[in-house]
Symmetry: C2
Subunit: 389 residues, 2 copies
Amino acid sequence: MSAQSFHPPVRTLMGPGPSDVNPRILEAMSRPTIGHLDPAFVGMMEEVKGLLQYAFQTKNELTLPVSAPGSAGMETCFVNLVERGDKVIVCRNGVFGMRMIENVERCGGEAIVVDDDWGTPVDPNKLEDALKANPDAKVVAFVHAETSTGVQSDAKTLVEIAHKHDCLTIVDAVTSLGGSELRVDDWNIDAIYSGTQKCLSCTPGISPVSFSQMAVEKIKNRQQKVQSWFLDLNLVMGYWGGGAKRAYHHTAPINALYALHESLVILQNEGLENAWARHQRNHLALKAGLESMGIEFVVEEAYRLPQLNNVRIPGGVDDAEVRSRLLNEFNLEIGAGLGDFAGKVWRIGLMGYASNPKNVLTCLSALEAVGLEAKGSSVVEAQRIYAAA
Amino acid sequence: MSAQSFHPPVRTLMGPGPSDVNPRILEAMSRPTIGHLDPAFVGMMEEVKGLLQYAFQTKNELTLPVSAPGSAGMETCFVNLVERGDKVIVCRNGVFGMRMIENVERCGGEAIVVDDDWGTPVDPNKLEDALKANPDAKVVAFVHAETSTGVQSDAKTLVEIAHKHDCLTIVDAVTSLGGSELRVDDWNIDAIYSGTQKCLSCTPGISPVSFSQMAVEKIKNRQQKVQSWFLDLNLVMGYWGGGAKRAYHHTAPINALYALHESLVILQNEGLENAWARHQRNHLALKAGLESMGIEFVVEEAYRLPQLNNVRIPGGVDDAEVRSRLLNEFNLEIGAGLGDFAGKVWRIGLMGYASNPKNVLTCLSALEAVGLEAKGSSVVEAQRIYAAA
C-alpha cells in the first residue's frame, strides 16, 4: 500500500459526539509540543485543574483529566472505588448503565441492578428500595445524562438517597458537563467522569474526572491494589497532584491537553450558566422546528437533555437513507439509535460549539430537503423561538 | 482564577520523549474533527492499520492504535494475555521491566523476575534458566529498548528461547519502533506495544500494538473475562476489525489519529530502513561530539540505542543546573536519569524528526556554552562523522 496524507471532509457534527470543535481549539492543539515535565507545561496543568473545578462546580483537590476517552474515565471511577466483593447498586436506563455493570463485575464486585425503561429517568424510589434490600451496598452508580436515550436523571436526589444509606456515588456526566446544570459540590457527588467531545466541544480522547474527599479516603485505604496500573489514582495523583515536584507516571497527551485547556478557557469566558442557557435556547428552537414536521421526542419534557435530542423516526422514513443523504449531500452528521433504540430514533446533538442557531437551521432545512415535510416552514418555527427569547 | 489561552514555548525536544513533532503532524492534528463512525474516518483507520503493519513489519491482523499512552498499551498486552494464576517471566533491567511486574501482579499473575543490571541487556542464559526452573510459565515479557537506560536487548533470541518453552512473548518497543531494527514477524513476537511520541515523532497519547495469531487464540479462549473493559481486545476488535460494519466501543481520539496517520505516512515515504540508518548516523555524530567532551556512555557499544543516548554526567557538573540552563537559555530539553540513574545520567534523545544534524549540533554547542569543555570543538568532531558518511 502507499497511503497519502488524510484530508477529512468538513462536516457539521450534530450526533451524540464528537460535536463540532471550535477552530480555536483545533488551532491550540497544533501548538508546538513540549515535555510533560516542562515547567511551562506544569503551569498549564495547574490551570486545567482549576478550570475543570469551575466546569464541575467543585473544590475537589482530585480533579484532573484522565489521559484517555470517557470509557476510561468510567473505568477510573470503578477500579479505584470498587474492591473485590463490594456490592454496587447500578441504575440502568440505557447503554451506559449496562457498561457500568460490566465495570463492576470486572472489578470483582457484585452489581445489584435497578432497572428503568429506556428514555425514562432513574426512579429514586426504586433506588431507595434497592438500598433497603441491600444494606451492605457500598457504592451507587448512575448516569446523569444518558447519551443513548437523551434523558437526564435527578442527580441531586439520587446522591442524597445513596448517602442516607452510607454509599459513595459514581456519576456519569459525559454528556452533561458544560451543557446542562451540574453542581458536583452542591449535589455532593463523590466520583464523576465526563468526556471532552460533547459539550466542551473539544476533540475526543480525554476524560475529566473529579473525586470528593470521601472518595479519596476510600481510595487511600483500599485493602487491595487497584487492578489497573494506568488508572490507579494513587499513582496518577503523584503526577497531577505533585505541585512542582511531580513524579513521572505516564507521558501526558500534551497536545490533547492544550486543546482541553483552550476549550475550558472558552467555557470560562462564556460563563457556565450562560452556556447552559444557550443549550436550552437552541434546543427549544430545534424542538419547534422538528415538531412542525410531526417529529416526536422520546423523552418526556421534564427530563429532556437540551444537548441531545432523541426523537422518533417518523413512520415510513428510511433511517439509514436519511442519515446517509444528510451526510453525503449536506455534510451533516446526526446520530443513529444505540442498542434497543437502533433504527427507531435519531439522536440530534446540539453540544458545545455546535449548539448554535446556524446548526439548528442547517439541520431543519436539510431534513426538509431530504423529504421530511413540515407544516409551513420548520425554520420559521425555529426562528420564532429565537425572536421570542 | 481567570486563565488565558496557553502559548507554549518552542522547545527542541531531545529527552526520552516526547520528541520534536514534525510540523506536518501538528497541522494534520488540527484538521476538522469528523465522527468516529464516519465512512471517511473508517477508511483512514484501515490505512492506519496497514501503515502500522509496515512500521512493525508484520502481517498481524490485530494491529491497531490503543486510544491512550504507551502505559495503556503495556496494560493492554498484560490484561489480555495474563489470567489469574498465570506464571509470567519478567526480565527486569530498568524502570519499564519493573512496571511489567506491577502489571502481572495486578492481573493476578505470578511474576518470576529475571534480573540484569541497569544499562546491560537481558541475558538470554538467565531467561533460559528461569524457564527451565519454571516449566509451567505461560508468558515471557521483556523490554526491547529500555527508555530508562538506553539499552537494547536481543529480542529475536529472547523470543526463540521463550517459544522453545511454549511461552508467549510480550515485548516493549516504546522506544524502538521507527528508530532501530524491529521485525515483529521475522522475530515471531506475539504481543508488542509502542508509543507515538518517540521515534514516530508524533504527539503523545496513543499506543500502537500488534498481536500474533497465537496471541489472538489465547485471548479468544480465556477462561476469565479481561479485567479491563476499556482495554478488552475482544471488544476493541469489533471496532477496529469490523470492516464496514463497526461496532461502537468507545469514541476514538479522532484528531490524535489524524496525527498518527500523518506520522506513519512520513515514515512510509522515508522508508523504515532509511529511518533506522538516519538514527544511527546522527547517534554516531552526537557520540563523537560528546566524547570530545569526555562524556561517557552508560551502555556498552554493542547494546546502545541510537535514539536514546544515556551518558554519565561528568564529575563536578551540576545535573539540575545544566538541564535548567539548557532549557532556559536555549529552549533545549534533555532528559534526566530515571530511578536508580537519577542525578547520575542524562538521556539525550535523537528520536524520529528530532534525529537530525541540526539538533546534534544544537545539543553539543549548547552543552559547550553552559560550560562543558571539549578538546577542540565538539561540533567539528560531529561534522567529521557526517562528512565521512
